[in-house]
């Protein structure tokens, strides 16, 4: 018997066909004219071929004749289901903008919340494709009532401690759409076509009288460089999809599993002689910090998170001899390397990500201290720094620090956990010969402590220089090494060999530490 010979089977196929049509041929054509993929095309481009298993395809709204026969069917503006990425199953949920602007209403929220709950229950990564303008007053008319905002059963925060969550902002993401885009371990927005904000320009005009265009209000320049609400920007939709696939490749499927090791063709003992001369002798000169991670990590393994935000701290997912790790790198070329509010927020978030999903952390330190000055104090830099410090102290994932150049003050002390959540953290730390550290830097410290003596000297500048030179000799890292204040001072060229050996040990250790992390108040 053919499917169409059975009325119920024929109706099933009719309804499925309508769901595949989404907003209809005309709406889809208009969408394509804007150069955008539909929700279904985005899913197909994201998951492994033929791996998508749709759930809730029949959710929507049927119209019926007086006798109760189906006239037509409009699907819900959300497509969701399971798919594989690199052979590993995950949940994917995509807003369909060809239907009422991807608006969140009725059964649509039931559907995307189900996807998130299923990801939590089955411990699978969750990927959200957000393209939603938020609520519409027209829904009020359909419901005949208003509701207290919020969603029962949405496990938004529980998810973040259990499974990797990634989101792509494909278009305007407003209100709830913005929250779904932002509330993820990895978020990326498509340049020029995605905006993320609490409310769009018309609402801002009405509420505040300000004229502002949507790109200025919530485009990638603001979100990925100023506010940090979204981590990365993508040039195209395909680029955004590739970035999420890349992000997921470093992570386990959930907090109960360890990250997978991949085969690496890069010699773990490969030396990098160029690193021996990378840091200039003149302490005022900056250098290209990125060259360190390029030389140290497995070739082609670096994936930078939030490259445009808090740039004095660079954060990467990377591999060492095939083992996935998180790498932090101080960049003196940005804000002198100071820990700004943005850099501190970025650090807190990155440490939490690595700790939650068992990625051992490598901290390559060049830290002059927390950013100083009126702007920095007003921005709440110290509060952000304290929270980042607390995140480090709460981290129980294996950790190694290498001081490349500076480690000064409060921010300099945050090179690794001193006690850790169990009071037993090793604080495994090394240094390059170019390293200097202290509670305060020599230059400012000498000027403050010897103020009267310097002023009284016949040549105050000469006296200050003399005192500074004396203290610089005292601050040789070899003197610290004599007292075992640092485990070892290494030749920069050998940094990769040291870290690859450590990564093997760290990877074995995390196998014994699996499960979600509990953290105290910070």
């Amino acid at each position: 018997m053919k499917m169409s010979d059975n009325p119920a089977m024929a109706e099933l196929e009719t309804r499925r066909a309508a769901a595949r049509e989404m907003g209809g041929a005309e709406a889809v054509a208009k969408w394509h004219e804007k150069g955008r993929m539909t929700a279904r095309e985005r899913i197909a481009a994201f998951v492994d071929p033929d791996s998508f298993h749709e759930l809730g395809m029949l959710t929507g709204k049927g119209r019926y004749t007086a006798e109760g026969h189906l006239i037509d069917f409009t699907p819900a503006s959300s497509v969701m289901g399971q798919g594989n990425v690199e052979g590993r199953t995950l949940m994917v949920v995509a807003d369909d903008f060809t239907l009422r602007g991807g608006s969140s209403e009725g059964a649509v929220s039931d559907k995307w919340i189900y996807a998130e709950r299923m990801a939590l229950e089955f411990r699978m990564p969750l990927v959200r494709f957000v393209d939603s303008v938020g609520g519409s007053v027209k829904i009020l008319e359909q419901a005949g009532r208003t509701k207290i905002p919020g969603y029962a059963l949405w496990p938004s925060t529980a998810l973040m401690g259990s499974v990797p969550v990634a989101s792509i902002a494909f278009g305007a993401c407003v209100g709830l759409g913005a929250v779904r885009a932002i509330g993820a371990h990895f978020s990326v927005m498509v340049k020029g076509q995605a905006q993320v904000f609490a409310a769009g320009p018309p609402v801002v005009k009405q509420g505040l009288g300000h004229d502002v265009d949507k790109e200025e209000l919530g485009g990638h320049e603001l979100c990925t460089r100023v506010s940090g609400a979204i981590l990365n920007a993508a040039d195209t939709e395909q680029d955004a999809l590739a970035q999420v696939r890349r992000f997921l490749s470093y992570l386990p499927a959930n907090a109960w599993e360890a990250p997978a090791r991949v085969a690496s063709g890069d010699d773990p003992r490969r030396r990098a002689p160029a690193l021996n001369t990378l840091v200039p002798d003149n302490p005022r000169r900056v250098y290209h910090a990125r060259k360190i991670v390029d030389a140290v990590c497995d070739q082609g393994s670096l994936f930078e998170l939030a490259p445009g935000f808090g740039g004095s701290l660079r954060t990467y997912l990377a591999r060492l001899d095939g083992h996935a790790v998180g790498v932090m790198l101080g960049d003196p070329a940005v804000m002198g390397g100071a820990l700004t509010r943005a850099a501190a927020q970025k650090m807190e978030r990155f440490v939490d990500l690595c700790d939650s999903f068992h990625l051992p952390i490598v901290n390559l330190v060049d830290q002059p201290g927390a950013m100083i000055g009126l702007d920095a104090e007003r921005a709440g830099t110290l509060l952000a720094a304290a929270k980042a410090g607390a995140a480090i102290e709460q981290a129980s994932v294996p950790w190694v620090s290498i001081v490349i150049r500076r480690a000064f003050g409060l921010a300099g002390s945050m090179l690794g956990p001193w006690n850790g959540p169990n009071g037993t953290s090793l604080n495994h730390r090394f240094a390059w010969p170019s390293a200097r550290w202290g509670s305060i830097p020599i230059e400012g410290g000498v000027a403050a402590a010897y103020k009267r003596e310097i002023e009284a000297a016949p040549d105050p500048l000469a006296r200050r220089a003399e005192l500074e030179a004396y203290y610089h000799r005292l601050s040789s890292p070899f003197r610290t090494a004599e007292a075992f204040g640092v485990v070892d001072i290494i030749e920069p060229a050998d940094t990769r060999a040291l870290l690859c050996r450590w990564a093997r040990d760290a990877s074995r250790l995390v196998q014994t530490q699996l499960g979600p992390k509990r953290r105290t108040l910070r």
Partner: protein
Amino acid sequence: MSTEQVPSPVTGLVWKRLATVGETLSEGDTIMLIESMKMEIPVDMPRAGVLKAILVKEEDSVAEGQAVAEIE
């Protein structure tokens, strides 16, 4: 050719001007150094072009994002 303003990447003092007005420079060439957090932070050419103007003097205090040069 359009004129573009080059912002200071950091709050600090103008330490040294390294390029001369009228000079043709490549992308990444350093126009001046800003002293901040005891470091010399370079202000680099965002693209190749001609340095049309330097908008600050040595020892001037500059804010992050403030235009310090014009290129064409």
